[in-house]
Amino acid sequence: MTQPVSNCPNCGAKIVFKWSSSVQTVCPYCKSILVRTDVDLKKVGQVADLPPDSSPIQLNTEGIYRNKAFVVIGRILYEYDQGGWNEWHITMNDGTSAWLSDAQNEYAISFATNTTGLPAAKQIQVGQQYNWNKQSYTLTVITPAHYRGVEGELPFQYWDKTDVTFADLRSETGKFATLDYSDEDPALYLGEFVEFDDLKLKNLRSFEGW
């Protein structure tokens, strides 16, 4: 791994990693998508202008989840036929990484798992029940989404995507799960819905008149 500080191979700007395990970042100046290699940073792509966004969250927004402080260091922006949503990449003060998803101001925090034996994209149907970590989940929606862009630091490479499928699952207790079919092997994220006020967010965007 490189030092947390290096230079953008495209524009030479200083790139500081806020999280040592970040694999990818976007140069805040020239919007080059940069991937860490063993020796330096490699430009793999370019972020087009992101569409105007309504999320109150932005990079460097801070908050508290289960008594742990976190900071927003990156995001993936998706679109689907009923709108768009953000997966904000957050790091906790104990070094763990998680996702704060914001879909029309419905917030959920989830963590990556290494669960295997997940259903294939072709098998999933709305209404199916799954059990993970002794918790029962019901599949409520399958979303064919479109990758729209990235910002900041991510724990994996994510830049050459087009269409990706997600399945959202809910429980009777407010737990939340997402099956992510971005890659060949599906990935499972487990978490829960959270209330905006409970996150005690700081460094939010401000909105004219609000």
Partner: protein
Amino acid sequence: MSTGAPPLSNPPKPQVKALNCPQCGAAIVLRSLGNAETVVCASCHSILDAKDPNLQILQKFNVITGEVPPMIPLGTRGKIRGTDYEVIGFQRRSITVEGIRYDWHEYVLFNPYKPTRYLTEYQGHWNDISVCKELPTVQFAAVNYLGEIYKHFQTAEANTNYVLGEFPWQVRVGEHATVTDYVKPPRVLSSEKMANEVTWSIGEYMYGADIWKAFNLPGQAPEAVGVYENQPSPVSENVKGIWSAFLAFAILLLVLLAGFDLASSKTTVFDSSYRLNAGEPKGEASFVTDVFNLDGRTSNVQVTTSANVDNSWIYLNYALIDQDSGQAWDFGREVSYYHGYDSDGSWTEGSRKDEVVIPSVPAGHYYLRIEPEVDPRHPPLVYTVQVRRDVTVPGLFGVAFLALLIPAIAITWRSMSFERARWAESDHPPIHIGSSEE
């Protein structure tokens, strides 16, 4: 890409955008910033793509004349449960049940930090609605949500008829959804089923006056018509209370009854048997008894008459007379007992014993004047007269018991009427209403 200016400052603050309708040129206001997916031109009723800088036209719809404008104008801000919201969208939806169309209105509420919230209005009944985070579980004709049971009320196809303003989803006129409501007043749990998605939402009943206050609207909220599916009953809260009170008072009455029973002396002051030969002296003669003492406080006197009548009767004219003052209490008693056997089996009527209580008799020296009457052909007959001082009268307690029971039953009845009116509008109407309409 040039290196450009470093983005040291945050992106510019989003503002209310002013745009123009590509169809008719009228001004379009976007209030919910980047949240809006669709926005409706108020002049030509084109549904426009709010995400498109050119506001591409997605759908045009015809508006019937006399379309009701929103009661809360778009752009109005108000406080719902402590959070400020702005009304950004309005739609009219309807269901058709047994050939009758029912219309209701939905208001989309926006706050840039909070999830979208909705208000619905049906004939003056309001609901504050938000999307469920926890998944309800369906069990037979009910749903369990956060440990509480909601009863199935209605399943119907909802159609979107009219839209105005902006929506954080792709709204279209003519869109269908299967809407199922489950109620636990004052809350309602609704599922909206579309092709690929089921959305659960939780609503809480609100009174028009509170909406008017929250949004600072002029005038008065329209009066609510009838009983709504999740309207809290004004009396159901009282039903439990009145029955608890009734139970408490009934126990108190029983205790009082027992107390009075213990306190009353129930002394037998006179007890004598007489033989009556019906045929003997023509014209029944009256006679007087020995004098007996009634002691203590002014209290009641019980006179018990027993006679071995058998398919016959005896009638006695009594007078209880105060020896000293001459004051008399006159009363007549009949003892009759009949029995037999018919096609329904054996039967009896009457009793061989009669009791009467004379209230408020002061202490003193008393005697009885008795004048018995029987059928002249009656065989000789023995009857017993017993006088007891200061007995308990359970009848009074019975009256008190009824006085408590009547309001309890009245309130229960009112509550049941309210629930009947509620469920008459559901998929499960009370039986007699359903059959009378057929």
